[in-house]
């Protein structure tokens, strides 16, 4: 794993393009591609959030007639469920943290002029964009978007007559995911190669910022996981269109023979969750990296035990591939396998607990600056712990059977994976915005956004645990059919009201983002007094990142409040010798 050393003046991989199309559309520059991914994620998150708003409205006012949309029918509700999940998991949680910030900042943080394969990088974005358009197209075909949920369990997802949306809509949905997988695989290759081969002189692996470590770990997971989902998706398309029976046993639908036999619905679940559980870490690892990074910047202290954090993240990569069966305790899988899967599931809580402990210890005896990025980093810790403690209930097969497919699961994964990862995205946005756009975001709007989102998130997702304990199944479009669910409607109402407020709070963010882009205060090159390489470049960074020279790294990434140092931070490029960690 030799570090590639660039000689001074050797760092021009390609000349800066001049035309608009090559500069901003089909760009090879990792920074522009990062922004493209980020804005794709931003568009997707608002679409996904709008869908969840419609879901929440429908749940408590099932007969409401909405402007332009009319009344939401049960099948439409399930399409919203499916598309909300798919958009959020793939096009937000996978796209923005890794494709967006990873693309923009990984090369700069390791002192590289670009990604290893710029053309591949451009391709991976445009393939992802194509996948997004394909997914959205399913709303506009006959039958509408599929209703099989983001997990797409066959036979529901494999039989055209199993419901509205399971025709062309479902084909588009699977195609979109398959195309997305190709983009994600290309991206993963690029991230891994860049991290291993493009580091500047002195940037040893153990001097990489934890953000870079997190993107690197995420890319490894992506490389191993997306290939499996791609294959699974192709088999599903074949079952639907070519008459194969990978997932379909002998069966009927509406009393008619399906014409398939010999397949296993459980095969899909194994393949899907072999991808699906590592996907959770694809979403959350970048946020872990950002949180570790920003708490250190905010607390003006070295991150607590850098090596342990790296080790914990690597062990999550390994263990993450051994736990998929915990999604299948009630699936009909062998109960012995079920119990076997519960042990690594419990074990994977250990690195997560160690990380949480390290974050708290990073704050201990710090001098915490409550900037907006710090606030979101702190919020991440709180949410990660809150979502984490419900994990050991679900990891125990005997307890999981009661909670499986109830709102308890929805509450759990939204806290630990979805909103925690979103907090990572927010933290990263507030932190790196000055570098990306040369201006500052409003701190006071940022604080309002933080408090509304933090309190709102808890108000939405904690009550879902109570619903789940009371036995409320997920994916029910009407709550009036089952007696005991009627008693839970007040909780559902509370959640919807909380969602209104929280969603309104996101408009503050949107305003702050675009207003600051054009009207924000000019930013200096290093407004947070941070140490890593991106803060040594011009703002925004030039085409080749470092203006023709290549940085040489002398220090670790978290040298804050070093005794005897003139300032409370030592840049990675400062020659002042700091004893290595």
């Amino acid at each position: 794993m030799a570090t590639h050393e660039f000689a001074a003046g050797e760092s021009h991989p390609h000349a800066a393009p001049q035309g608009f199309i090559r500069k901003y559309v089909f760009s090879l520059d990792h920074k522009i591609i990062g922004l493209q991914y980020y804005f794709l994620g931003l568009a997707a998150v608002f679409v996904g959030m709008f869908l969840s708003l419609l879901m929440r409205i429908h749940l408590i006012w099932p007969t409401a007639v909405l402007p332009f949309l009319g009344e939401i029918k049960p099948e439409t509700y399930l399409s919203l469920v499916t598309m909300h999940g798919t958009i959020m998991v793939f096009f937000v949680l996978t796209t923005a943290p890794q494709g967006g910030f990873g693309n923009y900042f990984l090369p700069i943080q390791i002192g590289a002029p670009d990604m290893a394969f710029p053309v591949l990088n451009m391709l991976s974005f445009w393939v992802t964009f194509l996948a997004f358009l394909t997914l959205l197209a399913s709303f506009f075909v006959i039958g509408g978007a599929p209703l099989h949920g983001w997990t797409g369990y066959p036979p529901l997802s494999a039989l055209r007559s199993s419901g509205p949306g399971e025709g062309l809509g479902a084909d588009l949905w699977i195609t979109s995911i398959a195309v997305f997988c190709i983009g994600a695989l290309l991206g993963s290759l690029n991230f891994i190669t860049t991290t291993l081969d493009m580091r500047a002189r002195g940037m040893t692996l153990m001097r990489m910022p934890l953000t870079t470590w997190a993107w690197f770990c995420t890319a490894i997971i992506g490389l191993l996981a997306f290939g499996v989902l791609l294959s699974a998706g192709i088999l599903l398309l074949m079952d639907r269109n070519l008459g194969t029976s990978f997932y379909l046993p002998l069966g009927t639908i509406n009393g008619q023979l399906t014409g398939h036999k010999g397949g296993s619905p459980l095969l899909w679940q194994h393949l899907f969750w072999f991808f699906g559980h590592p996907e959770v870490y694809i979403a959350i690892l970048p946020a872990m990296g950002v949180c570790s990074h920003l708490l250190s910047v905010g607390a003006r202290k070295p991150v607590f035990s850098y090596k342990t954090i790296v080790l914990a993240m690597l062990s999550i990569v390994v263990l993450g591939f051994g736990v998929w069966g915990h999604h299948m305790f009630v699936s009909g899988m062998s109960p012995y396998s079920g119990y076997a899967f519960s042990i690594p599931t419990m074990a994977i809580t250990v690195p997560s607990a160690v990380l949480s402990f390290a974050w708290l210890a990073t704050l201990w005896r710090g001098n915490i600056r409550f900037t907006t990025p710090s606030l979101f980093g702190i919020g991440f810790v709180s949410l990660f712990v809150a979502g984490g403690v419900s994990g050991p209930f679900l990891a125990q097969p005997a307890l999981d059977i009661q909670l499986h497919d109830t709102y308890f699961v929805i509450g759990h994964f939204h806290l630990i994976m979805a909103v925690a990862a979103i907090f990572g995205i927010f933290a990263a946005t507030y932190h790196w915005f000055p570098k990306m756009f040369g201006r500052r975001m409003s701190e006071s709007l940022g604080r309002w956004h933080f408090f509304i989102t933090l309190i709102g998130t808890y108000a939405i997702f904690v009550p879902m645990h109570y619903l789940g304990i009371a036995g409320h199944p997920r994916r029910y479009s009407q709550l009036t059919e089952v007696d005991y669910l009627r008693d839970l409607i007040p909780v559902q109402k509370f959640i919807t009201y909380a969602a209104f407020v929280t969603i309104a709070g996101q408009l503050i963010f949107l305003f702050n983002l675009f207003w600051s882009m054009f009207r924000g205060k000019q930013a200096s090159d290093n407004p947070w007094e941070a140490t890593t390489l991106e803060w040594t470049t011009a703002t925004p960074p030039p085409h080749d990142n470092f203006g023709g020279h290549t940085p040489v790294v002398h220090n670790g990434p978290y040298e804050y409040s070093v005794p005897g140092a003139p300032r409370d931070y030592v840049m990675q490029t400062d020659p002042a010798a700091v004893k290595a960690h």
Partner: protein
């Protein structure tokens, strides 16, 4: 700001915990042999995780308030977290967590084993449960103790009952099979459930029995539970099965053995 964060985090923590501890919304009262042990295991896990949650959130609040930036006079202390005592603290935290987690898992293991590692008792009441969009059918083998053959090509969902299951009238064993839309079982006797699905995956959830199992096309999944209280209990579908998923619910009636026998005999008589 540090104090504000402390107050917000503490309020969130205590409000969240209150509704758990007060059990404002809770499991329906248990009505099966495993429910007491299940509830016990859930509460034990809840205590362990509740402590972790409260300690972490309260601790986070204190750290934020205590170590806030106080202007020019304050400065952070340099800790790498990589000296031997610091690493030992991390290792201790990891071991503590691992012991708690795996310990809790092992403690609950017997519950899982009791439900799934052994087959149903020989004298269990057999009920075949079949899910199809969007209805459950329950079949009893009748006096001969044998389920008659079913054939997919005979299925007629719109006709309901036996025809919906595709029961083969040529098979002598099917003559006395009873098919109903409500599950009736005797109290204090093990019930062997054989789960099937015709079209897509469904999941039979009986919250009061602490019972849930997917019904998967192509598989016959054998499960068992023992109801310990008479009464009507909710049965819902817990696996997304299509647009009528929310409508796929029913009742499990737990009655005395005599009532059960009488009910089954009456159904047999209706058939003749």
């Amino acid at each position: 700001m540090g104090l504000l964060l402390l107050v917000v985090l503490w309020l969130i923590t205590f409000a969240s915990m209150y509704f758990f501890v007060a059990k404002v919304w809770w499991f329906p009262p248990g009505a099966s042999a495993v429910s007491a042990a299940f509830d016990h295991q859930f509460v034990n896990t809840g205590i362990a995780m509740g402590i972790v949650f409260v300690v972490a959130q309260v601790g986070l609040g204190i750290l934020l308030w205590k170590y806030r930036d106080r202007g020019k006079t304050s400065r952070a202390q340099y800790y790498s977290g990589e000296t031997r005592p610091e690493i030992l603290v991390l290792v201790f935290a990891a071991l503590l967590f691992m012991t708690t987690d795996i310990g809790v898992d092992l403690l609950g293991g017997h519950l899982w084993a009791a439900e799934r590692f052994r087959p149903a008792a020989p004298n269990a009441v057999q009920v075949e449960v079949t899910g199809m969009q969007f209805v459950w059918y329950f079949r009893y083998p009748g006096p001969d103790g044998k389920f008659g053959a079913t054939r997919p090509e005979l299925e007629d969902a719109s006709a309901g009952g036996e025809a919906a299951l595709g029961l083969d009238p040529q098979d002598p064993a099917s003559k006395d099979d009873v098919v109903t839309g409500t599950m009736v079982v005797p109290v204090n006797r093990e019930v062997e459930v054989i789960l099937r699905a015709h079209d897509v995956i469904h999941s039979l959830s009986l919250p009061a029995m602490r019972f849930k199992q997917d019904a998967v096309p192509g598989l016959a999944i054998h499960m068992h539970f023992t109801p310990t209280q008479e009464g009507d209990f909710a049965a819902v579908c817990d696996q997304l099965c299509g647009l009528g998923h929310y409508k796929m619910h029913g009742i499990v009636k737990v009655v005395s053995q005599e009532e059960f026998d009488k009910w089954l005999a009456a159904r047999e008589a209706e058939k003749q």
